[in-house]
Symmetry: C2
Subunit: 380 residues, 2 copies
DNA sequence: GTGAAAGCGCTAACAC
DNA sequence: GTGTTAGCGCTTTCAC
């Protein structure tokens, strides 16, 4: 008999005068006599019945939940990923579990291992760094995993992945700065011992070399990915640049930064010194976060496709999950998202900067031009 | 017997040569003979056993999951809430489900009702607006709910809630602007038909009145909570202000904005017109999001405690959940978070602004002073 | 088309 | 202490 708790199939069955099997069938639309359908639906409505999803999961072997794990949701890059992932999982009837690892490796591994607790049908993971332990954990994952980031160039990667092409991205930005007349281009990079740090530096060097410009080590610096660090780094570079101007070809005329936070920090340093952006120094960042529009002048940035990576990761994950119901398992895929330069006022050519400034009075320079217009610039 | 699937208590029991009950006891630390403990733990380790959390939930009646539902994670205010909530739920052994309602009322109601599916042990809800349907749904919620926002001032509110005091918050900002010498203070507000919109306007009016300043309707405007809307709104106000300057006491010397996005937009308009911040026009926003430090000069803003509201909401929810194991149900609580003014360079006094500008060359004006210093200013 | 019954994996009485 | 057993709420054979 039915107790005082929330209604269950049994409660409905009693009320409708049928068996619990019929209740289940009607509720899942598996066909029944019209009369039965009517009585069950009536009872369910009257009792305000809501199926117990946990019991369903246990029986069905699927939780209808997906997990997204990243360092810290405070980073705008992850915010755009979450938005995409959330939208897609929701559209497919999955709930989204959010997990912040706070950049603790052990926590990342724990997330992968906890896939075995059947709480989640799959995982999108943004690791800070891929260690051998990661690879082992991924290989033994109890549920499908998609990694956002760069897996080692292995013959057989353990899981699907989506990566940004930050080498090309950095090249795009630096070429753009050169093409618009800049010659002494500083580079404020993040930590050197990370994959993004290395790749963005490679892109910077490559673009300079391709355009026949020497790369001056005094113009490159590494620091943390924060606004404050960017400000401090640029003050330092400017001090040194001024001090050594006797030997060098003159003051720097552009700053390329490894992400938008650094670029904003750099812009602050320039403002504080009374240097004009872009008339005196052009500035460009990476990631094309919402900060680009918060900055004045609006910040040129390279969109490394954080939203798109989120979307692709979610889709890959859902593919794997539906695939599993099928037969064979396809080999792991690796997708690379094409970067896109978004030009805004912070990198307008120096010669036309003043004219542009006047024009801004009427039309604030929020209009962005993408690399589509100058796609041919991208050679690689 | 055991099939090829993932290991279960039964698999372990067979391997350890004990009953499944003993396995369960050992795994939950309920005491057993040392020998039994050893054998079970050994078997579990060897098999890489991970308990099925879904089965546990079904048996235990708790999912160990909590839900946070808000409009859109893209809004920085929600990001700081999520961070806090995530940290607290994690510390208490709960997973966090994220739900974006996209400001669709029907979706918000669905979230509340879906608490009956036992997928989540509780909900923190940030509704865009509280309708009678909301109240009804909240009253019948199958699990504890905490609302972040203003419930109607009812004798018995349906659930716990945490609210910001944006009336006082707006007053703080406007009083600060007045105290630092501003007299014609414009107000760029969000939509007028929302609770925040109404309250911020009340605070603005109250501060002006208290200081004996007339409030000029021509200085107040309503628009959307976006950067672009802020830019457009301020251009409009400036145009009108200039046009009617014959009758008015002169051009506006400060802008108070109902959130940081609007304030950044307003700052863009000022920059585009060549007006200096804060020398010509002071700017202040609300919410104290990360955008305040992205702006140049750094933006004065009122911290309405989004992080703290998130923290309190999560704690209230956990209280309710543990309480339920106890006896009686305490009446619904309502907490109000005290706003805090964070003064940055965008609102430095006009007279000293130029001197301050020079000082910034050495020390970028990132140092913030909180209302703690001038707390007595808050009279209400 | 419908009902009886098994079983998803686990925990907790209950007897021994 | 330990094993047997019931049962959380649901879906799905399997007979009828």
């Amino acid at each position: 008999m039915t107790t005082g708790g929330p209604p269950t199939v049994e409660t409905i069955a009693e009320r409708a005068g049928v068996s619990i099997a019929s209740v289940s069938r009607v509720l899942n639309g598996h066909g029944a006599r019209p009369d039965t359908v009517r009585r069950v639906e009536r009872a369910a409505t009257e009792l305000g019945y809501v199926p117990n999803a946990v019991a369903r999961s246990l029986k069905g072997g699927r939780s209808l939940q997906l997990t997204f794990a990243m360092q810290d949701i405070g980073n705008p890059v992850y915010v755009s990923m979450v938005r995409q992932i959330q939208a897609i999982t929701k559209a497919h009837g999955y709930r989204l579990l959010l997990h912040s690892t706070d950049a603790v490796v052990e926590d990342e591994l724990a997330v992968v291992r906890s896939l075995a607790d059947r709480t989640s049908d799959g995982l999108v993971l943004c690791p800070i760094r891929i260690t051998p332990e990661h690879l082992e954990a991924l290989r033994g994952a109890a549920q499908p995993v998609v990694v956002i980031g760069s897996l080692p160039d292995d013959a057989e990667p353990p899981v699907d992945s989506v990566r940004a092409d930050s080498v090309t991205g950095a090249e795009l930005a630096v070429r753009h700065l050169i093409r618009t007349g800049r010659r002494r281009i500083a580079f404020v990079n993040g930590p050197a011992d990370t994959v993004p740090g290395r790749n963005r530096y490679r892109g910077y060097r490559a673009a300079l070399a391709d355009c026949g410009l020497a790369s001056d080590p005094a113009l490159v610096t590494n620091t943390d990915f924060t606004i404050e660090a960017g400000t401090e780094a640029l003050h330092r570079l400017l001090d040194e640049d001024r001090a050594g101007s006797g030997s060098g070809p003159g003051r720097l005329d552009a700053v390329f930064c490894a992400n938008d936070q650094l670029a904003l920090g750099a812009a602050h340093a320039l403002h504080a010194r009374g240097l004009r952006i872009p008339a005196d120094v052009a500035v460009a960042g990476m990631d094309d976060t919402s900060l680009t529009r918060a900055s004045w002048p609006p910040l040129t940035s390279v969109d490394l496709g954080s939203a798109e990576r989120g979307r692709i990761a979610a889709e890959m994950l859902l593919d794997r999950i539906t695939e599993r119901d099928g037969t064979s398992r396809a080999p792991a895929r690796t997708e690379t998202v094409t970067p896109r330069l978004v030009v805004r006022a912070s990198s307008a050519p120096a010669e036309t900067a003043n004219a542009a400034q006047d024009a801004q009075d009427a039309h604030p320079p929020n209009t962005a031009h993408t690399a589509a217009e100058n796609g041919q610039e991208v050679t690689r």
